[in-house]
Amino acid sequence: MSEEISYTMISLGCPKNRVDTEKIMFVMREANYVFTDDLSEAKVIIINTCAFIESAVEESINTILDYATENSEAFFVVAGCLPLRYGEDARESLPEVDLFLEPKRISDLPKLLNESLKIGPRSRNDKFLKHVNHGSGRILTTPGYAYLRVSDGCDRSCAYCAIPMIRGRMKSEPIEKLENEARELAEKGARELILVAQDLCSYGTDLHIRGGLEKLLERLNGIDSVSWLRLMYLHPNGFPKGLLDVMGTQQKVLPYLDIPIQHISSRVLKDMKRPWRADTIKGLFETIRNTIPGVALRTTVMVGYPTETERDFMELVDFLDYAQIDRVGVFAYSPEEGTDAFELGDRVPSEEKQARVDEIIKVHSEFAQKKNESRIGQIDKAIVEGYSPDTDLLLAGRLWDQAPEIDGNLFITDGLAVSGGIYSVRINEVNGTDFFGEIVG
Protein backbone atom coordinates (compact mmCIF):
# COMPACT_ATOMS: atom_id res chain seq x y z
CA MET A 1 0.00 0.00 0.00
CA SER A 2 1.23 3.53 -0.74
CA GLU A 3 2.47 5.83 2.00
CA GLU A 4 -0.08 7.99 3.80
CA ILE A 5 -0.02 11.71 3.13
CA SER A 6 -1.79 14.13 5.43
CA TYR A 7 -4.09 16.87 4.21
CA THR A 8 -6.22 19.53 5.77
CA MET A 9 -9.45 20.97 4.46
CA ILE A 10 -11.36 24.20 5.00
CA SER A 11 -14.94 24.59 3.85
CA LEU A 12 -16.25 28.10 3.32
CA GLY A 13 -19.68 29.24 2.26
CA CYS A 14 -23.05 27.59 2.04
CA PRO A 15 -24.33 24.05 2.66
CA LYS A 16 -24.24 23.39 -1.07
CA ASN A 17 -20.53 23.97 -0.99
CA ARG A 18 -20.25 21.72 2.03
CA VAL A 19 -21.60 18.84 -0.02
CA ASP A 20 -18.63 19.27 -2.37
CA THR A 21 -16.31 19.40 0.65
CA GLU A 22 -17.67 16.06 1.82
CA LYS A 23 -17.15 14.61 -1.64
CA ILE A 24 -13.56 15.86 -1.73
CA MET A 25 -12.91 14.35 1.69
CA PHE A 26 -14.32 11.07 0.49
CA VAL A 27 -12.04 10.86 -2.57
CA MET A 28 -9.07 11.86 -0.45
CA ARG A 29 -9.78 9.17 2.12
CA GLU A 30 -10.27 6.53 -0.54
CA ALA A 31 -6.92 7.49 -2.04
CA ASN A 32 -5.23 6.97 1.36
CA TYR A 33 -4.76 10.61 2.22
CA VAL A 34 -5.18 11.19 5.94
CA PHE A 35 -7.03 14.20 7.32
CA THR A 36 -5.27 16.33 9.90
CA ASP A 37 -6.35 19.49 11.65
CA ASP A 38 -2.72 20.39 12.29
CA LEU A 39 -1.92 22.84 9.52
CA SER A 40 1.82 22.63 10.03
CA GLU A 41 1.94 18.90 9.35
CA ALA A 42 -0.39 18.93 6.31
CA LYS A 43 1.29 18.08 3.03
CA VAL A 44 -1.80 19.14 1.11
CA ILE A 45 -4.09 22.05 1.94
CA ILE A 46 -7.51 22.20 0.29
CA ILE A 47 -9.76 25.23 0.59
CA ASN A 48 -13.28 25.00 -0.78
CA THR A 49 -14.16 28.62 -1.47
CA CYS A 50 -17.24 30.78 -1.73
CA ALA A 51 -17.42 33.76 -4.11
CA PHE A 52 -21.02 34.81 -4.52
CA ILE A 53 -20.61 38.26 -2.96
CA GLU A 54 -17.62 40.52 -2.47
CA SER A 55 -17.26 39.81 1.25
CA ALA A 56 -17.20 36.07 0.51
CA VAL A 57 -14.50 36.60 -2.12
CA GLU A 58 -12.46 38.55 0.43
CA GLU A 59 -12.89 35.85 3.05
CA SER A 60 -11.78 33.21 0.55
CA ILE A 61 -8.67 35.16 -0.47
CA ASN A 62 -7.78 35.98 3.13
CA THR A 63 -8.10 32.32 4.10
CA ILE A 64 -5.98 31.18 1.15
CA LEU A 65 -3.20 33.66 1.86
CA ASP A 66 -3.27 33.10 5.62
CA TYR A 67 -2.87 29.37 5.16
CA ALA A 68 -0.29 29.75 2.40
CA THR A 69 1.76 32.02 4.65
CA GLU A 70 1.43 29.64 7.60
CA ASN A 71 2.50 26.56 5.65
CA SER A 72 4.24 27.50 2.43
CA GLU A 73 5.62 23.99 1.90
CA ALA A 74 2.25 22.30 1.41
CA PHE A 75 0.67 21.60 -1.96
CA PHE A 76 -2.16 24.11 -2.20
CA VAL A 77 -5.54 23.29 -3.76
CA VAL A 78 -8.38 25.78 -4.15
CA ALA A 79 -11.81 24.44 -5.05
CA GLY A 80 -15.34 25.86 -5.21
CA CYS A 81 -16.77 29.08 -6.50
CA LEU A 82 -13.65 31.27 -6.58
CA PRO A 83 -12.01 29.45 -9.53
CA LEU A 84 -15.41 29.02 -11.14
CA ARG A 85 -16.11 32.74 -11.02
CA TYR A 86 -12.69 34.15 -11.79
CA GLY A 87 -10.93 31.39 -13.77
CA GLU A 88 -7.67 32.63 -15.27
CA ASP A 89 -7.75 35.83 -13.20
CA ALA A 90 -7.61 33.72 -10.03
CA ARG A 91 -4.65 31.75 -11.38
CA GLU A 92 -2.75 34.93 -12.13
CA SER A 93 -3.60 36.66 -8.86
CA LEU A 94 -2.87 33.74 -6.56
CA PRO A 95 0.50 32.22 -7.49
CA GLU A 96 0.55 30.52 -4.06
CA VAL A 97 -2.08 28.08 -5.33
CA ASP A 98 -0.78 24.94 -7.03
CA LEU A 99 -4.09 23.61 -8.29
CA PHE A 100 -7.50 25.10 -8.93
CA LEU A 101 -10.18 22.43 -8.84
CA GLU A 102 -13.60 22.78 -10.43
CA PRO A 103 -16.46 20.81 -8.85
CA LYS A 104 -16.86 18.58 -11.90
CA ARG A 105 -13.26 17.39 -11.45
CA ILE A 106 -13.48 16.40 -7.78
CA SER A 107 -13.07 12.74 -8.60
CA ASP A 108 -9.85 13.54 -10.49
CA LEU A 109 -8.22 15.18 -7.49
CA PRO A 110 -6.16 12.21 -6.25
CA LYS A 111 -4.87 11.63 -9.78
CA LEU A 112 -3.91 15.30 -10.13
CA LEU A 113 -2.23 15.24 -6.71
CA ASN A 114 -0.38 12.04 -7.49
CA GLU A 115 1.02 13.61 -10.64
CA SER A 116 2.00 16.80 -8.87
CA LEU A 117 3.38 15.24 -5.71
CA LYS A 118 5.19 12.58 -7.74
CA ILE A 119 3.81 9.69 -5.77
CA GLY A 120 2.93 6.30 -7.15
CA PRO A 121 -0.47 5.24 -8.47
CA ARG A 122 -2.93 4.06 -5.88
CA SER A 123 -4.69 0.80 -6.37
CA ARG A 124 -8.03 1.93 -4.98
CA ASN A 125 -8.57 4.78 -7.43
CA ASP A 126 -10.58 3.02 -10.07
CA LYS A 127 -13.04 1.63 -7.60
CA PHE A 128 -13.83 4.88 -5.88
CA LEU A 129 -13.75 7.00 -9.03
CA LYS A 130 -16.69 5.04 -10.36
CA HIS A 131 -18.46 5.46 -7.03
CA VAL A 132 -17.89 9.22 -6.94
CA ASN A 133 -18.92 9.71 -10.51
CA HIS A 134 -22.27 8.30 -9.52
CA GLY A 135 -22.47 11.01 -6.91
CA SER A 136 -22.86 9.03 -3.72
CA GLY A 137 -19.39 9.12 -2.15
CA ARG A 138 -19.33 11.52 0.77
CA ILE A 139 -17.85 11.79 4.22
CA LEU A 140 -20.53 13.01 6.60
CA THR A 141 -19.21 16.05 8.50
CA THR A 142 -22.43 17.13 10.18
CA PRO A 143 -23.73 15.46 13.35
CA GLY A 144 -27.04 13.69 12.92
CA TYR A 145 -28.02 15.50 9.75
CA ALA A 146 -26.88 15.82 6.15
CA TYR A 147 -27.41 18.19 3.29
CA LEU A 148 -28.85 16.66 0.16
CA ARG A 149 -28.10 18.89 -2.82
CA VAL A 150 -30.86 18.09 -5.28
CA SER A 151 -29.70 20.43 -8.02
CA ASP A 152 -26.97 22.91 -8.77
CA GLY A 153 -27.01 26.14 -10.75
CA CYS A 154 -29.98 28.40 -11.41
CA ASP A 155 -32.08 29.38 -14.44
CA ARG A 156 -33.46 32.53 -12.85
CA SER A 157 -32.04 35.94 -13.67
CA CYS A 158 -32.29 38.02 -10.50
CA ALA A 159 -30.50 41.28 -11.30
CA TYR A 160 -28.19 41.25 -8.25
CA CYS A 161 -27.17 37.59 -8.26
CA ALA A 162 -23.88 36.16 -9.54
CA ILE A 163 -24.81 32.51 -8.92
CA PRO A 164 -25.97 31.66 -12.48
CA MET A 165 -22.73 33.17 -13.74
CA ILE A 166 -20.71 31.00 -11.32
CA ARG A 167 -22.65 27.76 -11.22
CA GLY A 168 -24.34 27.85 -14.62
CA ARG A 169 -27.81 26.66 -15.57
CA MET A 170 -29.77 24.47 -13.22
CA LYS A 171 -28.95 20.82 -13.35
CA SER A 172 -31.08 18.48 -11.27
CA GLU A 173 -29.94 15.13 -9.99
CA PRO A 174 -32.22 12.21 -10.92
CA ILE A 175 -34.61 11.04 -8.21
CA GLU A 176 -33.12 7.52 -8.08
CA LYS A 177 -29.63 8.87 -7.56
CA LEU A 178 -30.80 11.16 -4.77
CA GLU A 179 -32.67 8.34 -3.10
CA ASN A 180 -29.52 6.20 -3.14
CA GLU A 181 -27.44 9.05 -1.78
CA ALA A 182 -30.03 9.66 0.93
CA ARG A 183 -29.95 6.00 1.94
CA GLU A 184 -26.16 6.09 2.20
CA LEU A 185 -26.28 9.24 4.29
CA ALA A 186 -28.87 7.63 6.54
CA GLU A 187 -26.60 4.61 6.96
CA LYS A 188 -23.84 6.98 8.03
CA GLY A 189 -26.04 8.38 10.80
CA ALA A 190 -28.08 11.19 9.24
CA ARG A 191 -31.55 11.22 10.78
CA GLU A 192 -32.40 14.56 9.24
CA LEU A 193 -31.94 15.32 5.55
CA ILE A 194 -31.93 18.95 4.50
CA LEU A 195 -32.79 19.42 0.85
CA VAL A 196 -30.80 22.30 -0.63
CA ALA A 197 -30.52 23.84 -4.08
CA GLN A 198 -30.26 27.30 -5.55
CA ASP A 199 -33.90 26.92 -6.46
CA LEU A 200 -35.67 23.98 -4.86
CA CYS A 201 -39.03 24.87 -6.46
CA SER A 202 -37.71 24.21 -9.95
CA TYR A 203 -36.27 20.82 -9.08
CA GLY A 204 -36.67 18.37 -11.96
CA THR A 205 -37.93 20.81 -14.59
CA ASP A 206 -34.71 20.37 -16.57
CA LEU A 207 -35.32 16.62 -16.47
CA HIS A 208 -38.92 17.18 -17.60
CA ILE A 209 -40.31 15.73 -14.37
CA ARG A 210 -43.67 17.23 -13.43
CA GLY A 211 -44.01 17.78 -9.69
CA GLY A 212 -40.37 16.77 -9.23
CA LEU A 213 -40.00 18.01 -5.66
CA GLU A 214 -43.19 16.31 -4.51
CA LYS A 215 -42.15 13.02 -6.12
CA LEU A 216 -38.71 13.23 -4.58
CA LEU A 217 -40.17 13.86 -1.13
CA GLU A 218 -42.47 10.86 -1.43
CA ARG A 219 -39.46 8.66 -2.20
CA LEU A 220 -37.31 10.09 0.59
CA ASN A 221 -40.20 9.77 3.03
CA GLY A 222 -39.99 6.02 2.53
CA ILE A 223 -36.46 5.69 3.93
CA ASP A 224 -36.92 4.09 7.34
CA SER A 225 -33.96 5.52 9.22
CA VAL A 226 -34.62 9.09 8.12
CA SER A 227 -36.92 10.93 10.52
CA TRP A 228 -36.94 14.51 9.26
CA LEU A 229 -36.89 16.11 5.83
CA ARG A 230 -36.31 19.86 5.76
CA LEU A 231 -36.72 22.12 2.73
CA MET A 232 -34.54 25.15 2.18
CA TYR A 233 -34.48 27.86 -0.49
CA LEU A 234 -37.94 27.80 -2.07
CA HIS A 235 -38.50 30.71 -4.42
CA PRO A 236 -41.81 32.48 -3.91
CA ASN A 237 -42.46 32.34 -7.64
CA GLY A 238 -43.14 28.82 -8.82
CA PHE A 239 -43.90 27.43 -5.35
CA PRO A 240 -45.04 23.89 -6.21
CA LYS A 241 -48.80 23.58 -6.01
CA GLY A 242 -48.74 20.07 -4.66
CA LEU A 243 -46.08 20.68 -2.03
CA LEU A 244 -48.47 21.63 0.75
CA ASP A 245 -50.50 18.46 0.12
CA VAL A 246 -47.32 16.38 0.28
CA MET A 247 -46.35 18.09 3.53
CA GLY A 248 -49.73 17.11 4.90
CA THR A 249 -49.44 13.45 3.93
CA GLN A 250 -45.71 12.70 4.20
CA GLN A 251 -45.13 12.83 7.92
CA LYS A 252 -41.37 13.21 7.77
CA VAL A 253 -41.46 16.51 5.87
CA LEU A 254 -41.09 19.15 8.57
CA PRO A 255 -43.59 22.02 8.59
CA TYR A 256 -40.70 24.41 8.03
CA LEU A 257 -40.34 26.42 4.85
CA ASP A 258 -37.49 28.73 3.89
CA ILE A 259 -38.81 31.15 1.25
CA PRO A 260 -36.36 33.98 0.48
CA ILE A 261 -38.50 36.95 -0.62
CA GLN A 262 -35.62 39.53 -0.74
CA HIS A 263 -38.11 42.41 -0.70
CA ILE A 264 -41.80 43.21 -0.56
CA SER A 265 -41.94 46.44 -2.56
CA SER A 266 -43.32 45.57 -5.99
CA ARG A 267 -41.20 48.30 -7.53
CA VAL A 268 -37.96 47.01 -6.02
CA LEU A 269 -38.89 43.42 -6.89
CA LYS A 270 -39.43 44.50 -10.48
CA ASP A 271 -36.02 46.21 -10.52
CA MET A 272 -34.51 43.07 -9.05
CA LYS A 273 -36.02 41.14 -11.98
CA ARG A 274 -37.98 38.96 -9.64
CA PRO A 275 -41.23 38.76 -11.56
CA TRP A 276 -43.75 38.64 -8.74
CA ARG A 277 -45.48 41.25 -6.64
CA ALA A 278 -46.13 41.97 -3.01
CA ASP A 279 -49.63 40.51 -3.23
CA THR A 280 -48.26 37.23 -4.56
CA ILE A 281 -45.96 36.85 -1.57
CA LYS A 282 -48.59 37.87 0.97
CA GLY A 283 -51.09 35.47 -0.63
CA LEU A 284 -48.58 32.61 -0.60
CA PHE A 285 -47.78 33.05 3.09
CA GLU A 286 -51.47 33.21 3.93
CA THR A 287 -52.20 30.03 1.98
CA ILE A 288 -49.33 28.19 3.65
CA ARG A 289 -50.42 29.21 7.13
CA ASN A 290 -54.05 28.30 6.45
CA THR A 291 -53.08 24.90 5.04
CA ILE A 292 -50.42 23.94 7.57
CA PRO A 293 -51.29 25.34 11.01
CA GLY A 294 -48.20 25.89 13.15
CA VAL A 295 -45.86 26.01 10.15
CA ALA A 296 -42.50 27.73 10.76
CA LEU A 297 -41.63 30.22 8.04
CA ARG A 298 -38.20 31.54 7.31
CA THR A 299 -37.23 34.23 4.82
CA THR A 300 -34.29 36.31 3.70
CA VAL A 301 -34.45 39.98 2.77
CA MET A 302 -31.97 42.32 1.13
CA VAL A 303 -31.74 46.01 1.97
CA GLY A 304 -29.88 48.82 0.24
CA TYR A 305 -30.65 47.75 -3.34
CA PRO A 306 -29.67 50.69 -5.60
CA THR A 307 -33.27 51.65 -6.36
CA GLU A 308 -34.63 51.05 -2.84
CA THR A 309 -36.01 54.27 -1.37
CA GLU A 310 -36.74 55.03 2.25
CA ARG A 311 -40.39 54.43 1.45
CA ASP A 312 -39.65 51.00 -0.06
CA PHE A 313 -37.63 50.12 3.00
CA MET A 314 -40.46 51.15 5.36
CA GLU A 315 -42.82 48.99 3.32
CA LEU A 316 -40.52 46.05 4.00
CA VAL A 317 -40.33 46.85 7.71
CA ASP A 318 -44.12 47.14 7.94
CA PHE A 319 -44.55 43.85 6.13
CA LEU A 320 -42.18 41.99 8.45
CA ASP A 321 -43.89 43.55 11.44
CA TYR A 322 -47.28 42.46 10.13
CA ALA A 323 -46.38 39.05 8.71
CA GLN A 324 -44.58 37.88 11.86
CA ILE A 325 -42.32 35.48 10.02
CA ASP A 326 -40.64 33.10 12.44
CA ARG A 327 -37.07 33.49 11.18
CA VAL A 328 -35.62 36.34 9.14
CA GLY A 329 -32.18 36.68 7.64
CA VAL A 330 -31.17 40.15 6.41
CA PHE A 331 -28.31 41.17 4.14
CA ALA A 332 -27.01 44.45 2.81
CA TYR A 333 -26.89 44.66 -0.98
CA SER A 334 -23.45 44.01 -2.45
CA PRO A 335 -22.80 45.12 -6.06
CA GLU A 336 -21.43 42.15 -7.97
CA GLU A 337 -19.43 42.49 -11.17
CA GLY A 338 -21.10 40.88 -14.13
CA THR A 339 -24.64 41.20 -12.78
CA ASP A 340 -27.30 43.49 -14.26
CA ALA A 341 -27.62 45.44 -11.02
CA PHE A 342 -23.91 46.27 -11.01
CA GLU A 343 -24.56 48.83 -13.73
CA LEU A 344 -26.85 50.70 -11.34
CA GLY A 345 -23.96 51.50 -9.04
CA ASP A 346 -23.97 51.30 -5.27
CA ARG A 347 -26.28 54.21 -4.53
CA VAL A 348 -27.21 53.59 -0.90
CA PRO A 349 -24.31 54.57 1.39
CA SER A 350 -22.84 51.80 3.55
CA GLU A 351 -23.89 53.50 6.80
CA GLU A 352 -27.45 53.72 5.56
CA LYS A 353 -27.43 50.07 4.51
CA GLN A 354 -26.18 49.07 7.93
CA ALA A 355 -28.84 51.21 9.61
CA ARG A 356 -31.50 49.42 7.56
CA VAL A 357 -30.06 46.02 8.45
CA ASP A 358 -30.12 47.00 12.14
CA GLU A 359 -33.71 48.21 11.89
CA ILE A 360 -34.88 44.92 10.37
CA ILE A 361 -33.04 42.96 13.06
CA LYS A 362 -34.62 45.12 15.76
CA VAL A 363 -38.15 44.70 14.44
CA HIS A 364 -37.75 40.98 14.00
CA SER A 365 -35.97 40.39 17.30
CA GLU A 366 -38.78 42.00 19.29
CA PHE A 367 -41.30 39.67 17.70
CA ALA A 368 -39.05 36.60 17.88
CA GLN A 369 -38.23 37.10 21.55
CA LYS A 370 -41.91 37.28 22.49
CA LYS A 371 -42.78 34.27 20.38
CA ASN A 372 -39.88 32.23 21.73
CA GLU A 373 -40.73 33.10 25.33
CA SER A 374 -44.32 31.97 24.73
CA ARG A 375 -42.93 28.48 24.13
CA ILE A 376 -41.50 28.12 27.63
CA GLY A 377 -43.09 25.08 29.25
CA GLN A 378 -43.99 23.51 25.89
CA ILE A 379 -42.75 20.08 24.85
CA ASP A 380 -41.35 19.89 21.33
CA LYS A 381 -39.36 17.48 19.21
CA ALA A 382 -35.63 18.13 18.93
CA ILE A 383 -32.58 16.49 17.39
CA VAL A 384 -29.48 16.11 19.58
CA GLU A 385 -26.17 16.76 17.82
CA GLY A 386 -23.76 16.06 20.68
CA TYR A 387 -22.00 17.96 23.43
CA SER A 388 -22.17 21.73 23.37
CA PRO A 389 -19.06 23.21 21.74
CA ASP A 390 -18.62 25.36 24.86
CA THR A 391 -18.95 22.76 27.61
CA ASP A 392 -19.41 19.04 28.08
CA LEU A 393 -21.95 19.80 30.78
CA LEU A 394 -24.59 20.62 28.17
CA LEU A 395 -25.89 18.77 25.16
CA ALA A 396 -26.55 20.77 22.01
CA GLY A 397 -29.13 20.24 19.35
CA ARG A 398 -31.99 21.90 17.54
CA LEU A 399 -35.75 22.07 17.84
CA TRP A 400 -37.67 20.93 14.76
CA ASP A 401 -38.04 24.54 13.60
CA GLN A 402 -34.36 25.38 13.84
CA ALA A 403 -32.19 24.79 10.78
CA PRO A 404 -28.48 24.25 11.45
CA GLU A 405 -26.22 27.30 11.77
CA ILE A 406 -28.86 29.93 11.02
CA ASP A 407 -31.75 29.49 13.47
CA GLY A 408 -29.98 29.26 16.82
CA ASN A 409 -29.48 26.23 19.06
CA LEU A 410 -31.11 24.17 21.73
CA PHE A 411 -29.04 23.48 24.84
CA ILE A 412 -30.11 20.51 26.93
CA THR A 413 -29.47 20.75 30.65
CA ASP A 414 -30.87 17.39 31.72
CA GLY A 415 -31.32 13.97 30.18
CA LEU A 416 -29.45 11.28 28.28
CA ALA A 417 -29.23 11.21 24.51
CA VAL A 418 -27.28 9.85 21.58
CA SER A 419 -25.97 12.05 18.80
CA GLY A 420 -28.49 12.13 15.98
CA GLY A 421 -31.34 10.99 18.22
CA ILE A 422 -34.70 12.73 18.18
CA TYR A 423 -36.30 13.39 21.57
CA SER A 424 -39.12 15.24 23.25
CA VAL A 425 -37.75 18.26 25.05
CA ARG A 426 -39.43 20.60 27.52
CA ILE A 427 -38.39 24.20 26.89
CA ASN A 428 -37.39 25.92 30.14
CA GLU A 429 -35.61 29.07 29.06
CA VAL A 430 -35.00 31.30 26.07
CA ASN A 431 -32.09 33.56 25.21
CA GLY A 432 -32.51 35.34 21.88
CA THR A 433 -32.68 32.61 19.25
CA ASP A 434 -31.34 29.94 21.62
CA PHE A 435 -33.48 27.65 23.75
CA PHE A 436 -32.67 25.72 26.93
CA GLY A 437 -34.56 22.58 27.83
CA GLU A 438 -34.59 19.07 29.28
CA ILE A 439 -35.25 15.72 27.70
CA VAL A 440 -38.60 14.31 28.79
CA GLY A 441 -39.02 11.44 26.40
Partner: protein, 83 residues
Amino acid sequence: MNEMARHCLQRHHDIRINEELFCWVRLFCFRIFLRLGRLVNLRLVSVTLVSPITVRAISILRGVVVGTGPSPGGKTTLSTCSC
Protein backbone atom coordinates in the same frame (compact mmCIF):
# COMPACT_ATOMS: atom_id res chain seq x y z
CA MET B 1 -8.92 44.74 -12.80
CA ASN B 2 -11.79 42.97 -10.97
CA GLU B 3 -12.59 42.96 -7.25
CA MET B 4 -10.90 39.61 -6.71
CA ALA B 5 -7.63 40.70 -8.34
CA ARG B 6 -7.72 44.01 -6.46
CA HIS B 7 -8.16 42.25 -3.15
CA CYS B 8 -5.35 39.78 -3.92
CA LEU B 9 -3.06 42.66 -4.78
CA GLN B 10 -3.92 44.44 -1.56
CA ARG B 11 -3.39 41.33 0.56
CA HIS B 12 -0.07 40.54 -1.10
CA HIS B 13 1.00 44.11 -0.43
CA ASP B 14 -0.08 43.82 3.22
CA ILE B 15 1.78 40.54 3.64
CA ARG B 16 4.97 42.05 2.17
CA ILE B 17 4.74 45.08 4.43
CA ASN B 18 4.17 42.84 7.46
CA GLU B 19 7.15 40.70 6.58
CA GLU B 20 9.39 43.74 6.14
CA LEU B 21 8.11 45.25 9.35
CA PHE B 22 8.74 42.00 11.21
CA CYS B 23 12.25 41.87 9.79
CA TRP B 24 13.04 45.41 10.94
CA VAL B 25 11.57 44.78 14.38
CA ARG B 26 13.87 41.79 14.75
CA LEU B 27 16.78 43.89 13.53
CA PHE B 28 15.95 46.63 16.01
CA CYS B 29 15.72 44.16 18.87
CA PHE B 30 19.06 42.64 17.92
CA ARG B 31 20.65 46.07 17.80
CA ILE B 32 19.53 46.67 21.37
CA PHE B 33 20.84 43.23 22.30
CA LEU B 34 24.27 44.15 20.85
CA ARG B 35 24.37 47.45 22.71
CA LEU B 36 23.46 45.70 25.93
CA GLY B 37 26.17 43.15 25.18
CA ARG B 38 28.77 45.90 24.82
CA LEU B 39 27.61 47.45 28.06
CA VAL B 40 28.32 44.28 29.96
CA ASN B 41 31.47 43.62 27.94
CA LEU B 42 30.12 40.47 26.26
CA ARG B 43 31.28 39.23 22.91
CA LEU B 44 29.45 37.15 20.36
CA VAL B 45 31.42 33.97 20.42
CA SER B 46 29.80 32.03 17.63
CA VAL B 47 27.54 33.04 14.80
CA THR B 48 26.88 29.40 14.02
CA LEU B 49 24.64 29.22 17.06
CA VAL B 50 22.27 31.95 15.92
CA SER B 51 19.63 31.79 13.24
CA PRO B 52 20.34 32.81 9.64
CA ILE B 53 18.13 35.87 10.02
CA THR B 54 20.26 37.03 12.93
CA VAL B 55 23.36 36.45 10.88
CA ARG B 56 21.94 38.65 8.18
CA ALA B 57 21.19 41.30 10.74
CA ILE B 58 24.75 41.06 12.04
CA SER B 59 26.11 41.47 8.54
CA ILE B 60 24.23 44.70 8.03
CA LEU B 61 25.05 46.11 11.42
CA ARG B 62 28.72 45.36 11.18
CA GLY B 63 28.96 46.17 7.48
CA VAL B 64 31.09 43.12 6.92
CA VAL B 65 30.69 39.71 5.45
CA VAL B 66 30.17 37.01 8.01
CA GLY B 67 29.91 33.27 7.84
CA THR B 68 26.90 31.13 8.62
CA GLY B 69 28.96 28.18 9.64
CA PRO B 70 30.35 25.21 7.78
CA SER B 71 29.06 24.68 4.25
CA PRO B 72 30.41 22.62 1.35
CA GLY B 73 31.58 25.64 -0.61
CA GLY B 74 33.03 27.52 2.30
CA LYS B 75 31.37 30.62 3.67
CA THR B 76 28.02 31.83 2.45
CA THR B 77 28.21 35.48 1.59
CA LEU B 78 25.37 37.62 2.80
CA SER B 79 25.49 41.25 2.01
CA THR B 80 21.85 42.33 2.00
CA CYS B 81 18.80 41.70 4.01
CA SER B 82 16.57 39.51 1.88
CA CYS B 83 13.64 39.34 4.25
